[in-house]
């Protein structure tokens, strides 16, 4: 069923083109663009493939067929483009499959036999599919396939297609096939059976014993597959000797693994692997600004940006300064905020989000260079009110570090000079709409021949939905003991259930011996008499 087109090239002939069928992209975020997002999709696939194979991948043509787009690619690039199958692109998961010009008759013949083979090798009461020693299967041997390695990879690929016809949904496969054996298939790596992971994402038990797998690398392409795997068998592979930390590593790969080579995983190993890891605590911003330059700049900048952008630009920007803005329309939004229709209208046409703006001319046009261009851009953006640094410091998160090798326009220091890199996370209110937005802004400052003596070399801003200030708070350093944590949890639950603030929730729980049920009863009884201040405002 797979034939002529997909043949590795020998000699120096240009490799023949293979057709890939790409679906699942029609509802992407780019669906509204003139070509429905097809060109951006192709670019994405080419880029992914280029990364995957570490050399340039390029499609040689495309053809739209309803909801599918057929792309023509050289044989060499097929594998890396197929590796993007299931990837998320622009908000949707794209599906890519190999399209082969097979005649219907031959396809039927193979399908029928594969179906027989699969049915024969399935043990329903054990929910088990035995694909061991596949090359020795008499029925497949009679077809003359399975003899060579290359053939075998196509055999598994083709068989998985039939798997999806026998067990038609993911749910059905999850329900009916818990155990899969790939024992004794001479596997040196998983290249030939990679389609198996896509066919059985919910597998619980995998037997890879008696193959020729030599290192962890040989099976690393399944590192992120089988998220529910509980048992694995690897006996009779050279990797058992070659990888002293094999089991430790597998425990990292498969979060639910508890049985290895038919033995329970030793408890200490399991505990060590399952101990919950916690990222470093969130600390206050690091603001290293010995000369006070950054502080003064920020005070002036936000005052100026809210009141007189033209004067601000004259004071800190010069002919080489750059400004660009991008909108992240997908950012998490604080629950107090509503999503308004067309709410990004004033910003989006200037946004330089490289994920969306792929045309080189547009990319150049949306990076504004020089005081005049920057002022012109700023004047098109809505007027703003930023919070006051002194009275509302909790609304800001500021960081400042030395940035070496900033170009020196005076030419006195050809290697560049030390400047400052400032990152600002904060919020503003639009004057016209009162709408709150959050933003992230990065400046690089260096010396310059501006009225201030300071030059903004780079100014980049990301604007997003208002996301609150909780992320800026420092995480408490000491671990809370478990009793305290439990009480805190109860307070939190009571607050959620009643709308009371933490003070009153604590009061109520204290009077109820920290029994949530009791506290709820007490609350219901007292609700009518509670003052407004007892509730979260």
């Amino acid at each position: 069923m797979r034939d002529t087109n997909v043949r590795p090239t020998t000699s120096g002939r240009p490799s023949p083109l293979v057709q890939l069928r790409v679906t699942g992209w029609t509802k992407s975020r780019l669906a509204g663009s003139s070509d429905g997002g097809v060109s951006a999709l192709i670019k994405f696939l080419e880029r992914r493939a280029t990364i995957a194979q570490n050399k340039n991948a390029e499609s040689k043509g495309t053809k739209k067929e309803g909801d599918a787009v057929i792309i023509f690619v050289p044989t060499d690039d097929v594998k890396s483009i197929l590796s993007a199958n299931g990837y998320e692109w622009s908000g949707v998961n794209v599906h890519i499959e190999l399209l082969t010009p097979s005649g219907p008759r031959s396809e039927n013949k193979f399908s029928v036999i594969f179906r027989e083979v699969l049915t024969r090798r399935y043990i329903p009461d054990q929910k088990c599919l035995m694909l061991n020693q596949i090359c020795a299967d008499p029925q497949l041997q009679a077809l003359g396939i399975g003899a060579t390695l290359g053939r075998r990879s196509k055999l598994f690929e083709a068989m998985m297609v039939v798997v999806d016809q026998v067990w038609t949904s993911r749910e059905e496969k999850k329900e009916k096939i818990h155990f899969l054996s790939l024992q004794s298939n001479d596997l040196e790596d998983l290249a030939g059976v990679t389609s198996v992971a896509q066919a059985f994402p919910d597998l619980l038990n995998l037997d890879l014993s008696a193959n020729k797998l030599s290192t962890l690398r040989s099976i690393s392409r399944w590192q992120n597959k089988f998220r529910h795997l509980e048992q694995i068998v690897l006996t009779g592979n050279p990797m058992e000797q070659n990888e002293p930390e094999l089991l430790q590593e597998l425990l990292k790969w498969y979060p639910k693994l508890y049985q290895y080579n038919l033995q329970p995983v030793p408890a200490p190993l399991l505990e060590a692997a399952r101990a919950k890891k916690t990222p470093p605590k969130v600390q206050a911003g690091k603001f290293e600004d010995a000369a006070g330059i950054a502080e003064k700049f920020l005070l002036n900048f936000y005052k100026g940006y809210d009141s007189d952008r033209n004067a601000l630009a004259e004071y800190y920007y010069d002919s080489t300064s750059q400004f660009s803005m991008d909108v992240n329309t997908h950012a998490l939004r604080d629950s107090s905020q509503k999503r308004d229709p067309c709410e990004w209208e004033a910003y989006i046409r200037h946004s330089r989000n490289l994920n969306k703006i792929t045309n080189i001319t547009a990319r150049m046009r949306r990076n504004h260079k020089g005081t005049a261009a920057i002022t012109e851009m700023w004047n098109q953006l809505p007027a703003t009110r930023h919070p006051d640094f002194a009275t509302e410091p909790q609304k800001w998160l500021l960081e400042c570090r030395t940035q070496p090798m900033v170009p020196d326009p005076s030419g006195a220091n050809p290697g560049g000079v030390n400047g400052l890199i400032i990152t600002v996370h904060g919020e503003f209110q639009e004057v016209a709409t009162n709408k709150l937005r959050s933003f992230d802004r990065t400046f690089i400052l260096g010396p310059g021949a501006t009225p201030s003596g300071i030059r903004v070399v780079n100014d980049m801003i990301t604007i997003r939905a208002y996301g609150g200030t909780k992320a800026f708070e420092v995480e408490p350093a000491a671990a809370i003991d478990s009793e305290a944590a439990e009480k805190q949890q109860l307070i939190f639950q009571l607050m959620q259930a009643t709308g009371m603030n933490s003070e009153y929730a604590l009061l109520c729980l204290t009077q109820s011996n920290f029994d949530l049920q009791q506290a709820m009863v007490a609350f219901e009884g007292a609700k009518a008499n509670l003052p407004a201040e007892a509730f979260v405002q």
Partner: protein, 188 residues
């Protein structure tokens, strides 16, 4: 003196360099942690005492790529997923190295002889794909050309750009109680 490339060539090199870097780097954080250190410039102290790389992660500082890699290997949950939703970049120095040849003996094309800022924004999910803690993050990198590219043996020798300065921040913490209900919708 090395020459400066055209505006077109600079834009192409920086914007495409930024996207390739972002693709590779966040993938490494997710599932290639032993390679993380190869994305950083070697630890160096300038005559004035300034050290590079300069790495801050939520206010915590790290001396070099190896120390940052160790943090990821030892302290970050096995499951970490990034969804980078916005990327932008700007060139800081259009003529980074003044030498026409580099210590590695390789010439650097003028459009690649640049340092540039990359800003990213997106979701970061920990521990579990659908129910783990969820954050909005913002990250700024300053990338410089890998002048040793072409050297042999080191994995990092293949990378076109290396991180000199990095600042990562959670900027929105999703409420753990609301997470289950809202995020599926928000992420879709």
């Amino acid at each position: 003196m090395a020459s400066v490339a055209s505006e077109d060539a600079l834009t192409k090199a920086s914007t495409e360099g930024a996207q390739d870097f972002v693709d590779a780097y966040y993938t490494a954080l997710q599932n290639s942690r032993p390679t993380i250190s190869t994305y950083y410039v070697p630890k160096t102290t300038a005559p004035d005492g300034t050290t590079t790389p300069d790495i801050i992660w939520n206010g915590n500082t790290y001396e070099d790529g190896l120390e940052f890699q160790k943090m990821y290997e030892d302290s970050m949950p096995t499951f970490v997923h990034f969804d980078v939703q916005a990327i932008d970049c700007q060139i800081l120095n259009p003529q980074y190295s003044k030498e026409t040849t580099t210590p590695g003996g390789m010439g650097v094309k003028p459009e690649r002889n640049i340092s540039f800022l990359v800003m990213t924004a997106g979701h970061m999910r920990l521990e579990d794909r659908s129910e783990g803690p969820l954050f909005e993050f913002s990250e700024t990198f300053l990338l410089v050309p890998n002048l040793e590219k072409g050297g042999k043996g080191v994995m990092g020798a293949r990378r076109g750009w290396l991180i000199q300065t990095q600042s990562f921040r959670y900027v929105v913490v999703h409420d753990p109680v609301l997470t289950a209900g809202q995020t599926a919708m928000d992420i879709a």
